[in-house]
Amino acid sequence: MADQLPEARELSQIDLSMPSTGWMDTPVRMRKGIYCHGAQGKNIEAVGMPNPRNWRVEDEDWKLPPDWQEIILDGLRERLKRFRSLQVFMDICVRCGACADKCHFFIGSGDPKNMPVLRAELLRSVYRNNFTGAGKIMRKMVGARGLTEAVLKEWWYYFFQCTECRRCSLFCPYGIDTAEITIIARELLNLLGLNIDWIAAPVAKCHHVGNHIGMEPQTMKESIDFLCDDIEEITGIKIEPSFNRKGAEILFVTSSGDYYAEPGIFTCMGYLMLFHQLGLDYTWSTYAAEGGNFGLFTSHEIAKLLNAKIYAEAKRLGVKYILGGECGHMWRVMNQYMDTMNGSPDFLETPISPVTGTRFDHTVATKAVHICEFTADLLKHDKLTLDPSRNDHLRITYHDSCNVARGMGLLDEPRYIINRACNHFYEMPEETIRERTFCCGSGAGLHAGEDMELRMRGGFARANAVRHVRDRHQVNMLACICAIDRAAFPTLMEYWAPEVDVTGVHELVANAMIMDNEKERTLDIRGEDLPEQGIESDQVEKGDDA
């Protein structure tokens, strides 16, 4: 918990020297603050996953089924036949070390098993031992080892210290993707009921109630109605969004983080205001109320299970296409998995912006458009009137969320929007943005309270770059397009880079957007005083130099 968390100064003393014993001979020591609580039985059971029971990480006995080794090895064998990625990645790593210092967890912790290559070797060593001739004969000499309970616990400890951000994969000469290895390793661990509760609980809630936080339909509607009240106070405009409305043109799906807590709700207000201003014919759904997908952090099957609701709901409501909000791994799923898992949605139509007439031809299969593409298109066609000086109190930098950066490539749209909506935008150092962006340290379901030290270590590299632009350009706002970012960054910034706040891109749009019939704005979306016109904007040049 936070009270055990060392001071930032202490945590930044990172020891990158290697232990004197080889990694196979260095037993894992599970440290509090690094790992999350084990999944509760009811949450495992809720989606029909194996071995539901309550268990504690601290206990010696993890209550594994008696034939657990067989289960894991059979599971691995089956997945080697199902995923070319896994088989190839097991076979071709040359341990060149290019990935080693690319991982934010290694940079922030110095723990050698957080080097992506060693994280993969944890699994690869067992693969060699049981599935290759050389490993069966030459054992440790060729890096093979048997699957013992200690190895299993080591897997659990380290595969829940990976946020599946894919930065290592970008730098690997063969594209070996630790995210893929982690996803499959977690899938294996889940065969024994070894999930963490921070993932299992949202999965269970999402399955039965419709979103990760378990917000029931009426509460979700209330929550969004509250946001509309706030909007009315700020703009004088009354917005009445619709829920589960059949015949709407667009189904809007975003992460529940956006209608649940600050600062996500400000982004959500941005969506609501934008859609109202455009007169968009869209609906929310309380059933497919979650864009985020913690199933991806559990297993491919659970990812599919949770994602299936989105197309099912689009079909039931008879909408034409899907518009997706600002969320990171939601877009990894929507871009790289959704159509394969649950498509092809022939009941939908190729998305066309009702405002600009732009056909989103690159989405003819999934029929799902990212809101940043949608808004950038609006701005390109000058369909919105923006007053960027309303954001003059903000000096903004932008964090590329890992999943949209390296699992999609949505890099320029949000920058275009920010540059149109704000006068003061500063990029972080180029080694830490765009495809080379650093993870927030809390992705892939690790955004719990009990692993705070891990999160602060994992987010160190990101925060360090933010601190750089804070000190150099007085940046006071970190923009991002990911709900986990928005939930994780405030704590991370407070720890490493105080005085930097966190926003979504559409909050900035909403601040700047001049709506029809709005009253004179004196407050920003957060209900804070707007800067007085012309005071700050002439002090600083507009620019994106870093």
């Binding site: 930044s12 990172i14 290697m18 199902r82 995923f83 070319r84 088989q87 190839v88 071709i92 040359v94 341990r95 060149c96 070390g97 290019a98 080097m115 290759t132 050389a134 000499m141 060729v142 894919r166 994969s169 730098f171 000469p173 063969y174 070996i176 893929e180 399955h207 039965h208 029931e216 339909p217 009426q218 509607k221 589960n244 409305r245 309380t286 491919h300 299970l305 949770l306 299936a308 609701k309 099912a312 790289q336 998995y337 159509d339 394969t340 898992m341 732009t358 031809d361 690159h362 003819v364 999934t366 298109d377 390109k380 390296r406 699992g407 999609m408 320029d412 749209e413 275009y416 150092p429």
Partner: protein, 343 residues
């Protein structure tokens, strides 16, 4: 540990070939049988592995995107780093295979002196060493075709001529052989000197390096220092490739050591990390286009899952939805109140 056993293994291999040829006169074994066996293992081993890989499906299209995607028409797409078409994928693969694109990105984080900050320096050494080694290797192997062809085709002669551009020494110095040895040595030194690299290294990381060093060294020794009968060697090798092996006398043991080490490398190849060479062509994060939203990708083992259906959801929350004014499919059906069925 791994270093020593790898080095010892290579020394033993050299010793075995030397004793075999010099002590027992087993030139037939080392000059014909073992090379044939090694070639067979190499050929079938690599083929089997490639067939195995190609039979495993890519259930999902998961390229690692390294630049701007193809989206809105007015935003330029990074075609090479985020390919959308097969042609662009070919471009990306070309840049990976021939230019080591991903290694070129390499960065080294540096922790500041006060331990409160981290900066990033470009670190192209690995890229440089790897490129040096691989191209030297390619040139050397290609050059060796002169021993397997008669007449020697012009491209081989051309490469030879270019390779000897320094025009020093008799016989003329071939730069590639030297660079090969230097490249491998640099890769080895790097592996030994960087602590975290030494930490992750296994015996099977050192073994191919020592083996290649020994192969390059014996080759260099033969060419420049210990003269061997090139005509006899060519006779032997031509016999091998024409499947009419001949017993040739008067070739020194150095040659047999060289060819035995090469045979070892070939036989080792399909079972080792050296399979990264064909493997990169099968890497789904590199060889697939990022066009999922436009082109359907089929997972051959996709199976239906029983997701929580809307009608069950509506049944569970009917009363609450009615009270909140949320439209329903069946507003008049009785409420099951089953929302609490999972406690």
């Amino acid at each position: 540990m791994g270093t020593v056993s790898a080095l010892m293994t290579v020394i033993i291999l050299i010793f075995v070939a030397w004793v075999g040829v010099q002590g027992f006169g087993l030139t037939g074994l080392f000059g014909v049988i073992i090379p044939y066996a090694a070639m067979t293992v190499f050929f079938f081993g690599v083929l089997t592995r490639i067939i195995k890989w190609s039979r495993i499906p890519n259930p999902f299209r998961i390229p690692t995107t390294g630049g701007q995607h193809k989206g809105l028409a007015w935003i330029p797409q990074a075609k090479m780093d985020n390919p959308y078409t097969t042609g662009q994928v070919v471009g990306r693969m070309f840049s990976e295979v021939f230019l080591f694109r991903s290694l070129f990105r390499n960065l080294a984080p540096r922790l500041g002196s006060d331990n409160t900050g981290v900066t990033y320096a470009s670190a192209k050494w690995l890229w440089l060493f790897a490129l040096l080694f691989h191209y030297a290797m390619l040139t050397t192997v290609f050059r060796h075709l002169r021993f397997f062809t008669n007449p020697v085709p012009w491209p081989v002669r051309l490469v030879e001529a270019v390779d000897g551009w320094l025009e020093v020494g008799i016989p003329q110095l071939m730069v590639s052989g030297l660079l090969l040895l230097i490249g491998v040595t640099l890769l080895l030194v790097r592996r030994l000197l960087i602590p975290r690299l030494r930490y992750i290294s296994l015996m099977n990381d050192f073994f191919p390096l020592f083996l290649l060093m020994a192969i390059a060294s014996t080759g260099i020794l033969m060419r420049y220092f210990v003269g061997i009968d090139v005509t006899s060697v060519k006779q032997l090798l031509m016999g091998l490739v024409s499947f009419q092996p001949v017993a040739v006398k008067g070739i020194g043991p150095l040659f047999f050591i060289h060819i035995f080490l090469v045979s070892t490398l070939l036989a080792y190849f399909p079972f080792s990390k050296l399979m990264h060479a064909p493997g990169i062509f099968f890497s789904p994060t590199r060889d697939l286009a990022n066009n999922n939203r436009a082109v359907h990708h089929e997972n051959p083992w996709n199976y239906p899952v029983k997701f929580h259906a809307y009608k069950d959801y509506e049944a569970a929350f009917r009363d609450k939805m009615v009270a909140a004014g949320i439209p329903l499919d069946h507003p008049d059906a009785p409420s099951t109140g089953k929302e609490s069925d999972r406690g």
